[in-house]
Subunit: 409 residues, 2 copies
């Protein structure tokens, strides 16, 4: 790596809020994230040199493009701030973080602000499902299909079933763990919702089938949310640390990252991986790249994972792709409690996308902020004991764009 | 600067084409740009390590997001290629170039592909005008307004008129120069269209008023287009050069860049700049930043400019903001022929946005490709004699996001 990239902290909005019901524009979400982040970290807005936004589809949900420019309006100090918006469907937040960290590594700027944001409750669920279809090859995979993404991720489960066998009870257990963890997270969308493993494993009028093997309990929900994060070079971090009288090495860094893109169509993906032990080998590669860049030998060097459980099947995939089990044996980690808080490698102590919520363009930023909270011991009731190194995995499309970060000291 | 960034070359589609009439998906545009670029440069697709897309609003025009992922489908060698899409309205192409060049400067990759693309002819002009309104603050500046952007850039002319005086005949002359230059460019949208200074200066049924002081002849037109560019580190450029038996120093580089963002609302911009000699001081700052990073003393060190003439008023602004005249005196450079091919500092030898066309997400890439052609002496009939150093200016929104590149050796 060139210049190291430090994570100074940030702010997450309450993912249970419905900003449309509050009659608020997406700018209000951006503003709260920025103001909250500045207040939380005590960073002087004058010291911020560049701003990045991760957002999937505000053009559709909010009839608004050019979101980078809205950062400028978030604080009087930001007039003239260079800004941009970055997108790779549900991995947009991580893509914005990659763009921001590249500029820091290149020595362009010392302190960067990254805001991940999505306002999704502007439309009814079916229309929203159609919009999400633009993360796939819309004409071929989504047009005229009700809720295309649950169906695509149902097929990920089917592919596991075909290659290795898959029991829905393990998916139900994944759902229950995420819901349970979310109850500990005061910003989680579902913190007051009811879900048990038994309920997630049953099909009834309260847990209906959305498509294929995917039931309501297998799905992350439509969420409004914004997250601000502040990244810094060594110089920026030293300034931040000295102002607070703390050691710069007490600040977490991005130790490594991975970024890979698979063919966009799900059929092409699984045809390509037919002879591979991993169902999504490019996702595996992104994880391994991150481990290698961080100098980790593998998942044993990681204390917890914040992964992309847009559906239970994507977390099931993450378990073996991270290397917690051999390929196809994710169910073992589920059965053995490995992924629970208190387990060997907790997954989604925050509640993840299913529990904490999935405002798509914000998710990658929310994961990195939660990684920051964990390694700083600031995760409150969902703190993982002695968490020193956290991995994130953020996915756009049906396993198309995969981004992985390792955060630690 | 960290690692230098070389421009290896690229490919532009014919901007006169209507891809919707050809019944083609935006993927066909991306594919032609990539295949054309690989063929034009002879680059081995296996050597490309990352892909970036600049696009404004495919979600609206083409009901398709996640465009980065489409790069993977453009060549069998690209499976697993890290990809992303970047957006800042009509500056999206430059924003993608900034993201790609940051990764090279950071040492992440040695060879990057950048594709700027927009398919705009999928909808009728009024709907398209509404979509373009999402580059402004849609609810406040565009909702319910027919063709909001000509009106916003008409107000830029009005602001010049108020501060310094502005004659429409000078705008007409700018239009005529761009149309005239475009006739030399075999890929220009308007190469076979008719436009003279007299016609541009008159208002009749063939040159009607679109909004405020903006007539048809003042406007860039709705355009479909895609451009591929290949950027490289010193190592990547050396490999490219040695394979061709040429000197690496014969390859152009990005000598400097500037990137600034003003408040998104036009009213806020001009209120903020009321006491400034420049109407758009952040645009001026982006230009000066690029000069400084390139080690240039100013516009006298530049042989030609490819600027963002979405409307004649934005080119009028560029003339004094680049420093070709004192602030408010752009008309002098117009009258003296400074901006014509053969003049002291030709502007838009390609025809610019008005003449060559403005597929919004592709424009910043088209400008950099034309800069590459000029400094390599490959611009054919629109070649500027002895062009060694070229500046580009790409603008998103009503003067909101400004990006400037300096290309030379």
């Amino acid at each position: 790596m060139a210049e190291p990239v430090y994570v100074l902290g940030g702010y997450q909005t309450d993912f249970a809020r419905n900003w449309t019901k509050e009659n608020k524009h997406i700018m209000a979400m951006i503003r709260e994230a920025v103001e909250g982040g500045l207040s939380e970290t005590g960073i002087d807005p004058e010291s911020i040199e560049v701003g990045h936004v991760g957002n999937f589809a505000a053009e559709l949900y909010s009839m608004q493009g050019h979101l980078g420019a809205f950062l400028v309006d978030a604080n009087p100090a930001f007039s003239g701030l260079p800004t941009a918006r970055h997108e790779a469907a549900c991995a947009s937040g991580s893509i914005a973080l990659l763009a921001a960290s590249a500029e820091i590594e290149a020595g362009r700027y010392d302190t960067a602000m990254v805001v991940g944001v999505e306002q999704m409750k502007t439309v009814d669920p079916k229309t929203g499902g159609d919009y999400l279809g633009t993360a796939a090859w819309y004409e071929r995979e989504a047009e005229g299909v009700d809720f295309p993404f649950p169906k695509l991720f149902g097929r990920l489960g089917d592919e596991y079933d075909k290659r290795y066998g898959l029991k829905d009870e393990h998916l139900a257990q994944i759902s229950a763990v995420n819901y349970s963890n979310a109850k500990r997270n005061p910003l989680a969308q579902t913190r007051s919702w009811y879900m048990t493993e038994e309920h997630a494993n049953s099909t009834d009028k309260f847990n209906s089938v959305i498509g294929g093997r995917i039931k309501v309990s297998d799905c992350s929900q439509v969420t409004d949310g914004a997250v601000a994060l502040f990244l810094a070079s060594r110089k920026g971090a030293e300034k931040y640390a000295s102002q607070r009288g703390i050691d710069v090495d007490s600040l977490p860094r991005i130790l490594g990252w991975g970024h890979r893109t698979a063919p966009i169509e799900f059929t092409t993906k699984v045809a390509e991986s037919a002879d591979n032990e991993y169902v999504l080998p490019h996702t595996r590669r992104a994880i391994v790249d991150a481990f290698e860049r961080a100098g980790l030998s593998g998942v044993d060097d990681v204390d917890a994972i914040e992964t992309h459980d847009c559906f239970t099947t994507s977390e099931y995939m993450a378990i073996d792709h991270f290397g917690l089990t051999k390929p196809g044996e994710s169910w073992k980690a589920v059965e053995e409690g490995v992924i629970e808080i208190g387990g060997k490698t907790p997954i989604n102590p925050s509640g993840g996308l299913i529990g904490a919520g999935h405002p798509v363009g914000a998710t990658g930023c929310r994961q990195l902020l939660d990684a920051h909270k964990q390694v700083q011991g600031n995760a409150g009731d969902y703190q993982v004991d002695n968490a020193k190194t956290i991995a994130t995995l953020n996915i756009g499309g049906s396993g198309t764009t995969s981004c992985c970060f390792i955060v630690g000291h």
